[in-house]
């Protein structure tokens, strides 16, 4: 698919890129890739829609259990992670803008910040939220072994919590991997520039979607009474 000549160093990768021969032009290829990626994003949205639906049903059914469970979450870690993701969303948008303007240096700086934010998010989630809770027996469903449950249905809340944030955290890691790959290609080939930045654009869209999901997860999980 990608027809970059890795041996030639004469020109940056984005100039050497030749679109696939079944497209009329690079523009069409870009549009087709992006449309395909949006369709994939639709399936991602529907995946999380199922989780949000489960959340809504259980919250309506056991509001006290949700309030009791939510009180174990520290709003400061959740808030910090929200800011981390928002900033990373901004920097990935900036890196795409830099690609469009052929500003290779800031493209990479913005990508590095985005990736650092992604791993910071995951680090905070794992170190300050998942691990301490899990070790206290605050676990999903039948694994729940904390003797001080605030409500009989509290394990249901933790199932929703671990399910939703776990799948989201998986997406954070996948998004970070995509952006790392973009960074590698940018450093090695100058692969992204005004006429070709499809992979960066789609990875950015994926990353924004991860951010949007968290924008909804944060208040739903941390800001309940």
């Amino acid at each position: 698919m990608t027809t970059i000549d890795t041996h030639s160093k004469r020109q940056p990768g984005w100039k050497r890129y030749a679109f696939a021969n079944h497209f009329r032009n690079a523009e069409d290829e870009f549009d087709a890739c992006k449309l395909g990626f949006w369709l994939f994003l639709a399936t991602e949205i529907l995946l999380f829609a199922g989780l949000f639906c489960a959340y809504a049903m259980y919250r309506v059914k056991f509001p006290e259990a949700f309030a009791a469970g939510s009180h174990h979450l520290d709003i400061r870690w959740g808030g910090l992670n929200t800011l981390v993701l928002l900033v990373s969303s901004f920097t990935v948008a900036m890196s795409i803008r830099c690609a469009q303007l052929d500003n290779q240096k800031w493209l990479r700086i913005n990508l590095v910040i985005t990736i650092l934010c992604a791993f910071m998010f995951f680090f905070i989630k794992l170190t300050f939220e998942y691990i301490p809770k899990w070790s206290h027996g605050i676990r999903p469903g039948v694994l729940y072994s904390n003797p001080f449950a605030g409500h009989p249905q509290e394990p249901v809340w933790w199932s929703v919590y671990y399910g939703a944030t776990g799948i989201h955290a998986l997406h954070v890691l996948i998004g970070a991997s995509l952006l790392l790959w973009c960074l590698y290609r940018s450093l090695r080939y100058k692969a992204y520039g005004p006429t070709h930045y499809t992979m960066l654009e789609n990875s950015g869209l994926y990353w924004h979607l991860v951010d949007v999901i968290w924008i909804f997860l944060f208040p739903l999980l941390y800001l309940i009474h």
Partner: protein, 248 residues
Amino acid sequence: MQPHQSAAFDPNDPHGFAELGEHHGHHITSARTLVTIILVLVGLTALTVGASEVETYLTTEMGWLLPDWLNAAIAMSIAVVKGALVLMFFMALKYENPLYTIIFLFCMFAFALFLGLTGMEVDNRGHLYDWKKGVITEGGLGGSVMYPGATIHDDHAGTVTFAPDSFSGPLTEYLKAKYIAETGISEEEYHRRWAEANHVHDHTGVLSTADRSLARTGLSGALDTAGPDTDHGDAGHAEPAPDQPAGH
């Protein structure tokens, strides 16, 4: 311009689509817009946390009783605004091909279906059986179709009253008793009408069972070689099998 009006014919592009192609170029969002959006997003995050803290303060310190939905309504309103900003500006839906927006809105429609239909089902669990349980109990067997209760009271002076709460038994028994009471016919006449209604013509009054299939005339009487029953005086009509519930 029409495609075929092109001056030169291009064998690689016989329909002249190249002239109609979308050479729109990519939208480059200005840095100023992106910075504004991120600042607004951070501000809205502070706002939603602040609103939550204020709610906590009002309920715990001031003893206010806030409605249940308020917390979720405020948090979700702010989240919707934040999500819309990210989608419109960071994901550039505002500037891009509206097809992407349509795909996204379709997802929201599907999500609304998820929520609406699941919500209806969850919300109505138990309620459904409240009004149905007298007639249909769990198990799905025909024998369990019961009527919750009705008393048929005949004062033998032409007045038949039903007290719908004290009859208990199979629905079919209830309907039979109600019919007899209302029409004032004898048990014998009921069985005659029952046989007629069920197209029973073999003088036994027994319907088909799993072991024995009996010919009947009803919808396809012409196919019944025995023909419709003509001896109405026969005893078979007056004495259907005693174990045969009416209406089956």
